[in-house]
């Protein structure tokens, strides 16, 4: 039973990879646009740091690394994953998904993981290029730190997927994605620390960010990588991250069941 279920959802992930390969160009364009955005952000931070050894308690080497990790996390769960659910709702093709003996949330997750794998491969190359171009950064000191970084990345992917998914489900009510997607992106970019490390926030705002799930997307993985978040602090952050994933998973289930009750399948 479990074996069949695993095979089923693994096929969804494989499908996502096949589709990415079929649409190589938009996928590469999406990656390039993210890299270009980060080149600009990088330029801004370079200007902020010019002539200074550090800003706040950030040395330039750490800041550079932070930005590369932020780039990495921004590229995962982007592009097609971002719009899949809302597009299916808008076109009514969600009906086809509902006719399959598969759990929609799990199949969406599998597809996102498949996509993330493709995105991860390409953006890793971009990150390496970035790292080489910008000189030495900060790296995890040992295998355990690397392992914890990987764990934080998995939590980040799950968190980002669930946020995208829940915001996508809102389309059942709004029938349009634009506003919702901007809201989600805005909140994510700001409260995850993608644009500005949370350490630069005023105290009260940092407290707000601490209570939100977004920090698990960039701030925690970047901290785990650079060592800014370590030891008991990191363990606590990862535990909270897992708790958020569980909570968001249940919230998504709840939103889905509400949506199904009021769903009107668009078109014939």
């Amino acid at each position: 039973m479990l074996r069949l279920a695993l095979r089923k959802y693994r096929r969804f992930a494989a499908l996502a990879i096949q589709e990415t390969l079929a649409y190589r160009i938009p996928y590469i364009v999406n990656m390039v646009s993210i890299v270009v955005t980060y080149a600009v952000i990088f330029g801004i931070w370079a200007a902020v740091f010019s002539g200074k050894a550090s800003v706040g308690d950030y040395a330039w080497a750490e800041m550079k690394t932070y930005l590369v990790i932020s780039l990495f996390m921004s590229a995962l769960v982007s592009g097609s994953s971002e719009y899949r659910t809302s597009r299916q709702i808008r076109t009514g093709n969600i009906a086809i998904e509902l006719l399959r003996p598969a759990d929609y949330q799990l199949s969406s997750l599998s597809i996102t993981l498949g996509n993330s794998l493709c995105e991860g491969v390409l953006v890793s190359l971009a990150c390496l290029a970035f790292a080489f171009a910008t000189g030495p950064g900060v790296f995890p000191p040992d295998a355990l730190s690397w392992a914890l970084f990987v764990v934080s990345c998995l939590i980040a992917i799950a968190t980002k997927f669930l946020l995208v998914y829940v915001f996508g489900l809102a389309c059942f009510w709004t029938n349009s994605l634009m506003g919702i997607s901007w809201l989600r992106k805005g909140l994510t970019d700001f409260f995850s620390g993608a644009l500005i490390p949370l350490a630069f926030f005023p105290g009260w705002l940092m407290t707000v960010a601490d209570w939100l799930p977004f920090r698990n997307i960039v701030w925690v993985p970047a901290g785990a990588f650079t060592g800014r978040i370590a030891g008991a602090d990191l363990a606590r952050s990862l535990a909270v991250g897992v708790a958020w994933v569980v909570a968001l998973w249940l919230i998504a289930r709840f939103v889905w069941s509400r949506a199904m009750r009021k769903v009107t399948i668009q078109g014939g």
Binding site: Q18, L98, R100, A102, G268
Partner: protein, 338 residues
Amino acid sequence: MAIIEATGLCKAYESAVKEAGLAGAVKHLFKPEYREINAVRDVNLSIESGETVAYVGPNGAGKSTTIKMLTGILMPSAGTVSVNGMDPYRERMENARRIGVVFGQRTQLWWDIPVRESFTLIRDIYGISAARYRDNLSYLTEVLGLAEFMDMSARKLSLGQRMRADLAVSFLHDPAVVFLDEPTIGLDVAVRERIRAFLARVNRERGATILLTSHDLDDIRDVCERLVIIDHGTVIYDGKLQTLLDLCVRTRTMHLRLASGGDALAAKLDKKANLQTIAHSDCEISVEFDRFALSARDVAALAIESGDVIDFRIDEPDIERVIKNVYEGKLDLAGAGK
């Protein structure tokens, strides 16, 4: 127990009422108004295993909404549904495993991968065993002629090819019930015939229960024994197609070809009860007669007796016209059907 059982099935939803123009849009923003739309009202259906049922009605009658409730993707506002003994909405995944669905306007194939791979994906999603998959695939490939486009991606298929592939997809897992929502829409005559033949065959050979909606009356005549007509969300006829025709078509028309003397014969025939000539010339007469009072033989005998008849033919009852009359409320179906 019937394989599909719906009792008092209703679906109502709210539809935004917006006045025209920008002012209307702004007004709706602050004070939204909704109107309740009853897409399906108190539909009762009971379909036995192995039946072939056509679900017919004008656009917007509630056909697709009913299908969506029977397949579990819409929750009914009231009433109960049972398919294969399960509530399709509450047990969506389990139900999905045992039904097949074809939407003429949507495809289940994955757009960018070869058809063959869409099939293996379906195999894994439905957990079809290797042996059963091989058997079913070769059966469907043969009956539907899929071989020629198995290795093409869905987006490159013609509509007819796509539809055949979609049909195959929905039969791969041996569904007990198959719902088809306008499966022949937009297809050419040859493909439509092939699909009808396929549906009739799969019903005969595999015992699949079939419920289809269509505006193409040949689909109904060739595939379905039973006809359910829905209009404004309510079932207005449920019974055999032939019964409906018997009920609604009281008259038949006979066209006679004569050597000569058409006008004289027409005058003579018009004196008889239960028939009347509706057109006549010297060499041709069209007679309409009450088919419950007179048989075609009676009419032919009458004409041959008093005129120089060379040839004759009879128009069969026109399903299309009957159903159109039903839609337009011109026929009283009280007491019709079962």
